[in-house]
Structures are given as structure tokens and as C-alpha cells.
Symmetry: none
Subunit: 101 residues, 2 copies
Amino acid sequence: TQQLLSEPSPEAPRPRPCRVSTADRSVRKGIMAYSLEDLILKVQDTLMLADKPFLLVLEEDGTIVETEEYFQALAGDTVFMVLQKGQKWQPPSEQGTRYQL
Amino acid sequence: TQQLLSEPSPEAPRPRPCRVSTADRSVRKGIMAYSLEDLILKVQDTLMLADKPFLLVLEEDGTIVETEEYFQALAGDTVFMVLQKGQKWQPPSEQGTRYQL
């Protein structure tokens, strides 16, 4: 008897939910991405960065995410931050303090 | 009857997510590494250290990580710090204070 398995193959790429914040934490968007490359393209589009270069870092500590491998190892719903030229990661509390002044 | 086992063998090496910081904590990168040796090679590459010698220490307290065994015992997403010749581990708070001056 022949049997068709309906389970997805482990190789089939599945999109991952990602949250992406601007450097000043004023805007945060939810984006589904199949890969780091896909996320980068969607971030350009969604945050309207045009062709300006940017880095994707972890919002929690500014770790630069630049390899597909590392991207895949991250938990779902990881919060990323976009850093454009001249922008620098800062911890949330410092920014909080700054806003209160 | 022939049976194919789809479980991964326990010996199959799996890469671990690591975060690696420069000594001044200005850059932190996410790197996947199969072993301490692999991490050292990737750090050389990613942080462009060329052939300059360096130590890998724990970012939190400067503990030198030099054996594979100890590396394997660390939790995923451990933060490492690269110390090159003349560089010395410093606690985050001191650096924080320095930046505020």
C-alpha cells in the first residue's frame, strides 16, 4: 500500500514571526520572514528605508544579526532593531530617561 | 523489516548560538559555532582580527574560556568578549560611567 504523508517536509521553509523596531523604539512592526534576506527586504519595504544601508540587531542588547544561521537559531517573535547610518543601539532605560526630560 | 530511523544521532554536532562582543562593548555579533575552535575561527573572520592573537572571555565577568569542554557546558547565547593584546576585561558599569563623562 502506498501512503502519502501530509506532514510538511522538515526542509520546507516556514516563515517566522519577527518584530522589528526603529532605533528610537518609536515604531515596532510584526513581519513574517522566511529568511534573514527576506526579513531585510521586508524591513526596507515596511519601514520605507529605500536603499539606505542598515543593520539588523537584537533589540535587547544590540547583537548584530548578519548570518542566516544565527537568524534561524533565534526564537520566534525575536525583537529586532534597525540601525541606520549614525544610529547606535541604546538600552531601553536610557532612552526612557531621555524621553522624560 | 527494514526501518529507517529519522532521529538525529546524538553525536551529530549542532551549532550553538553565541554572542561575541569587542572589548569596549561597542560591537556585538551573533555567531553560530560548532565548537570553541570553530568560534575562534569565525570570530577572527567576523571581527576582522586577522592573525592577531586574542582571548575569549565571558563578557559578564572576564572568565577565560579556553577548553572545548567548558565551552560546551555554557548555555546557548552566552556572551563572549574578545580581548586582544593590551586589552583587559572591565565590568559594564565602569564603561557606562566612562561614556557619561
